[in-house]
Amino acid sequence: MKSISTAILTSAICLGLGTPALANRVFVSNEKGNDVTVLDSATLEVIGHYPVGARPRGITISPDGKELYVCASDDDLVRVFNPETMEETHTLPSGPDPELFVLHPSGNPLYIANEDDNLVTVVDTKTHKMLAEIPVGVEPEGMGISPDGKVVINTSETTNMAHFINSETYEIFANVLVDSRPRFAQYNDAGTKLYVSSEIGGSVSVINPETQAIDKKITFDIPGVLPEAIQPVGVRVTKDGKKVFVALGPANRVAVINGETDEVEDYLLVGQRVWQMGFTPDEKYLFTTNGNSNDVSVIEVAENKVVKSIPVGQQPWGVVVAPN
């Protein structure tokens, strides 16, 4: 039944496209499968599975689309791949247990959260040298960067803070206490809002980057879902800042938030334990990683609609779409 409806849906999508959409590669890290599943964003089909080292979690790609970075957490390094061939080109020193990272908008350097050692490591992606280690709170995870590249945000899950780091001096200049287990930090493109999700606190703090004050706390209420199951993790904002998507973990929903009012407008049913998300460059689709159902849900952004689920590998964690 499910496969039939999926098939119909898929063909409907394909028929709906008068002209072939620009195909981008979608890269999904599978935490327990030690591989990356590559999808085609036009056909929504799996291209292949490629080994990438032990416990891959954070995944990102250079702005020019030439280097794919994967946090190989249990190898204690970042592995770099040619996104076309999925061959490893080199590794970057990451410090122990890299979990999540963010690239400077220019593509260099890379800021890495070292979960087991309470550090953020800064690595030059050109020289492959470690530039700095910045001590932060307990269990650093979320990494965000301001659109102008001047401020790096790290969230520490057990300290419950968003640390504001000056990207030139590597000094922490502000610490904002948020609700329990902050997992992710995301600026809007205008740089006027910083969204920080709190997994156990069940909220998203909307922080004013200028004053570092929490302007609003977004909370979630889904009929028929236990409040304990609502655990916000990944956050993505459309380029125009009008739509904010928040992955709600074991609530198996993605919340759609109005980026102007910061009010929840919709909940989309996706796979189980949804954590991270990635847009296609044209923002037609948003891909979500569903760790417990081992699949990726595809959301049609304009329609707020889940159009397909694609089986990937074991415990999908992160996702990034090639820019070209």
Binding site: P96, D97, E99, E115, D116, D117, N118, L119, E133, I134, P135, G137, V138, E139, S156, E157, T158, T159, N160, M161, H163, Y170, E171, I172, F173, A174, N175, L177, S180, R181, I200, G201, G202, L226, E228, Q231, P250
Partner: protein, 397 residues
């Protein structure tokens, strides 16, 4: 590897002003706590795998202090926990020393009787955080206002297991309890859970501790003869529920029962607060950090001690205070919540000062399930389907 990092960190802290302005401007304020473990002389456990490590509980404390101090750097707060291993004879004197020294928080790892005695001795001079004793009377008729419990109660553990058994439709239980007072108290919790969730105890037997059957005695040689006979001709049942808090016989039950039935409770499928194989909810990195520090897996007592000290740290962060009274008040308020790697926030029951928490149902090598089971709903918190709820409490502060 570890050493390198420490040196690097220290170097960074000393050489460059990496720390935020707040930490360097404000003098560090100290929060002082102690972990008082009362060790009773006892026989070795049935399995040598269950021999308690020398740093039981203390290792959990060290991780909590590391965690609290890391956060404390941003708050201008410094945390310490003294580690004291006492005997039942020296425990009171050790507590007196701590109280005289002005330590405001004492985490106890002791049996029921000792925990109660320490609570009464501390009075309003210190907050006691019970990280071991599971007896329901400490949360009931013998509850104390100055005591909070991070160890789950017998009732919570029994209810957590009962919910799972009811979901399995294994509702006919053969209850075997030991002869020690703590075994009898645990068996009471299973009887209560059976009534609460609609299971039926179809047969009850008591396993007398006559000093035999342990590894130190004759071990498996006798057991293989004893256990089948002991469990023979019981009424038709789905599971054997073992209530063996003293650790005398339960590990010998699986595969030795007369009828081919699973064993749950003190052996087989065991309800507990922590399991070193738990990986969900960020537990993997928590286990990693602990194992790096302690070079062994985490025990329940380590988790419960870690939790007690993290509660203090969390209260200090949220109140931006290191003052004992303010921290106590916040911890006991409905504003308090702490994350404990169990997938949801843990909060305090105001009627008996028990910390609400999910119960892990574990086999030897995996976490098989986590209660509360989704089917059990509650008007205020699903966690209150586990243990003694507000309307039924016997606790009066």
């Amino acid at each position: 590897m570890k050493g390198r990092i420490i040196i690097l960190l220290a170097g960074l802290c000393a050489a460059t002003p990496v720390l935020p302005q707040t930490a360097t401007q404000k003098p560090m304020e100290m929060v002082r706590a102690a972990v008082l473990r009362v060790d009773k002389p006892s026989l070795p456990p049935i399995s040598r795998l269950d021999t308690p490590p020398a740093d039981l509980g203390f290792a959990g404390a060290r991780l909590a202090i590391e965690d609290n101090d890391t956060t404390g750097r941003f708050m201008g707060q410094d945390f310490e926990a003294l580690e004291i291993a006492a005997t039942p004879e020296t425990a009171a004197a050790e507590l007196d020393k701590l109280l005289a020294d002005g330590v405001g928080f004492v985490v106890t790892l002791a049996d029921e009787e000792q925990t109660l005695a320490l609570s009464d001795r501390a009075g309003d001079r210190a907050l006691i955080l019970n990280a071991r004793a599971r007896g329901d009377r400490l949360r009931g008729a013998d509850c104390r206002f100055n005591t909070i419990h991070t160890a789950p109660s017998h009732a919570m553990l029994a209810d957590g297991l009962a919910q799972f058994l009811m979901w399995k439709k294994w509702n006919e239980w053969f209850l075997i309890s030991g002869s020690h007072p703590e075994d009898i108290a645990l068996a009471d919790a299973y009887r209560r859970a059976a009534t609460k969730f609609g299971a039926k105890i179809v047969e009850e037997r008591s396993y007398e501790d006559t000093g035999g059957g342990r590894r130190s005695d004759s071990g498996h040689v006798q057991v293989q003869q004893q256990m089948p006979v002991f469990t023979q001709r019981a009424a038709e049942h789905h599971v054997v529920v073992a209530a063996d808090e003293a650790g005398i016989f339960a590990p010998w039950l699986p595969y030795q029962t007369w009828d081919a039935r699973p064993v749950v409770g003190s052996a087989g499928l065991v309800p507990r607060s922590w399991h070193p194989a738990l990986e969900a909810w960020g537990a993997t990195q928590f286990q990693n950090r602990f194992e790096k520090l302690a070079t062994r897996p985490m025990w329940d007592e380590d988790y419960q001690t870690w939790l007690a000290l993290r509660m203090i740290g969390e209260a200090a962060t949220r109140t931006n205070s290191t003052e004992t009274g303010a921290l106590k008040e916040f911890m006991l308020s409905d504003k308090f919540e702490v994350a404990g790697f169990k997938g949801q926030k843990l909060t305090m029951r105001d009627w008996d000062h028990q910390l609400r928490q999910p119960v892990l149902l574990t086999t030897g090598s995996v976490t098989a399930s986590v209660s509360p089971q989704d089917q059990y709903l509650h008007q205020s918190s699903a966690l209150d389907t586990l243990g003694i709820d507000r309307p039924e409490t016997e606790c009066k502060f």
